[in-house]
């Protein structure tokens, strides 16, 4: 359909943020008498009504354990649970449903890989970990290294807060057994060129574990195109419930891995003489999983498709550019991390006040930001700061909210200046 003559062609991308906001009940409330300005999305995102309703409906009408009972409710719950697995497979373009393991969150996903796949790593081997990792993609590797006598080697970042790709290339040695890297930095917003990094690592025969927690709410993820061996993310950062996360692993790798936890649901048969384990992914899902939360993750994925990645990416890119420009223009502000490709996060410090004091002042204006080290202390050390203020954005934030934040920062300067 073409636009009426005389008018410019409508944007291919149309985005109605007011409609989007109306889907998130929590955004309508006031905090300290001011409209909530929620800019702590990198910590956890708010939930659309479809997700809240799905979890509510499950407990009201559908609650039963899965893969157990022959009764109707159990059968329905099992179907609903497995349908979300298929939905996640499509969401990240994995080849098979069995490559999708439900876990508690990104942290558990990475610990699972470290404690199972990681058993192939031995004394003197090297685990390469980028300097911009969240502690959840560093500490599990340190634990493993301590257990087996391996070494965790940092892959450095630049002054802009980007991964130093030349240094990374040079860091591979014949002893390198694994690379752990984030898709998007939770502290800086930097988007790493994962496909390029993976092909470099694979050229050295090194498998790659990707922390995708901060990527999935902002960009479409295609694990086939990225080529990574493992990809981990959390439901709650992509508008789904807490307590559910996903580990994607290439089927041939998952099949070769021993179980993570033992218990019900992960076995084929059990006797005192010996136990055989269930095929993947069930082998890694011991015990009753977060059934309601998995079922709530389904509509979160549907919601993101409904909004549309193309539209939300264009909208968020403009919003974050505006935030970077406006926040950066406040006197006494220093932006921490100035990567070329960024999504979601703007981190900064102020001459006038410590991030905690900034956070407290902003909170009084109803603005929720994170102040601290963001579980990324090596990143803070790299920039020589103990902490930053982090404003993190999602598909429902607006330029007006950026303006409110900037007014709050001026108030910080007034109080502490």
């Amino acid at each position: 359909m073409s636009a009426p003559s005389g008018l410019p062609e409508a944007d291919a991308v149309s985005y109605d943020v007011t409609t989007v906001r109306a889907d998130f009940p929590i955004l309508g409330q006031t905090v300290h008498g001011r409209p909530l300005v929620y800019l702590d999305n990198a910590a956890t995102a708010q939930k659309p009504r479809v997700v809240i309703d799905a979890v509510d409906r499950f407990f009201r009408e559908q609650n039963a354990n899965i893969h157990r009972g022959v009764h109707a409710l159990s059968a329905q719950a099992t179907v609903a649970y497995d349908e979300v697995r298929a939905k996640v497979r499509a969401f990240i373009n994995a080849r098979e449903d069995r490559e999708i393991v439900f876990v508690r969150g990104t942290t558990e996903a990475i610990n699972l890989v470290a404690q199972t796949f990681g058993r192939g790593i031995g004394s003197g081997d090297e685990i390469l970990v980028s300097e911009m990792e969240h502690h959840s993609n560093l500490v599990p590797w340190q634990l493993l290294a301590g257990q087996v006598g391996a070494v965790v080697k940092p892959a450095p970042i630049t002054g802009e807060g980007e991964l130093d790709l030349d240094a990374l290339r040079a860091a591979f040695t014949p002893r390198t057994k694994l690379l752990a890297v984030t898709h998007v930095s939770n502290a800086l917003g930097t988007v790493n060129p994962i496909a390029e990094i993976v092909s470099e690592a694979h050229a050295h025969g090194v498998p790659v574990v990707v922390d995708g927690a901060q990527a999935v709410p902002h960009i479409p993820v295609d694990v086939a195109a990225l080529g990574c061996d493992f990809y981990a993310f959390s439901g709650h950062k992509m508008f789904g419930p807490t307590g559910v996360g996903v580990l994607y692993g290439r089927a041939e790798l998952l099949e070769a891995m021993p179980p993570y936890q033992g218990g019900g649901g992960m076995i084929a048969s059990v006797s005192f003489e010996g136990t055989t384990y269930a095929p993947i992914p069930t082998r890694f899902e011991a015990g009753t999983p977060a059934i309601a939360e998995v079922i709530g993750l389904g509509p979160a994925i549907d919601y993101m498709y409904e909004v549309g990645f193309e539209a939300l990416m264009a909208y968020e890119a403009e919003l974050v550019d505006y935030a970077v420009e406006q926040i950066g223009a406040v006197p006494g502000v220093r932006l921490i991390g100035t990567p070329e490709t960024r999504v979601g996060v703007v981190s900064f410090v102020m001459d006038a006040a410590h991030p905690h004091d900034v956070g407290t002042v902003l909170d009084q204006d109803g603005i929720a930001v994170r102040a601290g080290h963001h579980c990324s202390q090596p990143v803070m050390d790299h920039f020589g700061v103990p902490a930053t203020v982090r404003a993190s954005f999602a598909l429902y934030n607006t330029p007006d909210e950026v303006d409110t934040l900037v007014q709050g920062l001026h108030r910080v300067n007034e109080i502490f200046g």
């Binding site: 300290h32 008498g33 991030p355 905690h356 407290t360 102040a371 601290g372 803070m380 103990p386 902490a387």
Partner: protein, 150 residues
Amino acid sequence: MADLNELYQSVILDHNRSPRNFREISDTPHHAEGHNPLCGDNLRVWVELDGDVITDASFIGNGCAISKASASLMTQAVKGKRVSEAKELFTTFQKLVTGQASPQESKDILGKLILFAGVSEFPVRVKCASLSWHTLNAALEDAPEAVTTE
């Protein structure tokens, strides 16, 4: 509604900007390190004792306005006090910032430190105000381990 002016009183802002006794005491065995792992704040506290009297107190550290001002005012408050009096100050201060005691009933003991009464309206900031006191306590007890708020 909690009032920012109650929290960030001018004396607190002044001590944040120019902390007093912000130095090391090199020849005392009584010192300790304090750490708030959630926010990354850390500070070191030194005390010099003559018998059980605190003859000097100092600190160096990195932190928010509340933690820095609290440490600064603390070093002033404990100087010349007996160890037992400093510990009573700590207990009373802790009650004030957690809202268990009113400024009125604490002011005879706390003096200037009642400026921190506003902290009780900001529960997440209580640890900022009390970190230096926990660290002082450790220094007085010659605790070898760094103290932490967690």
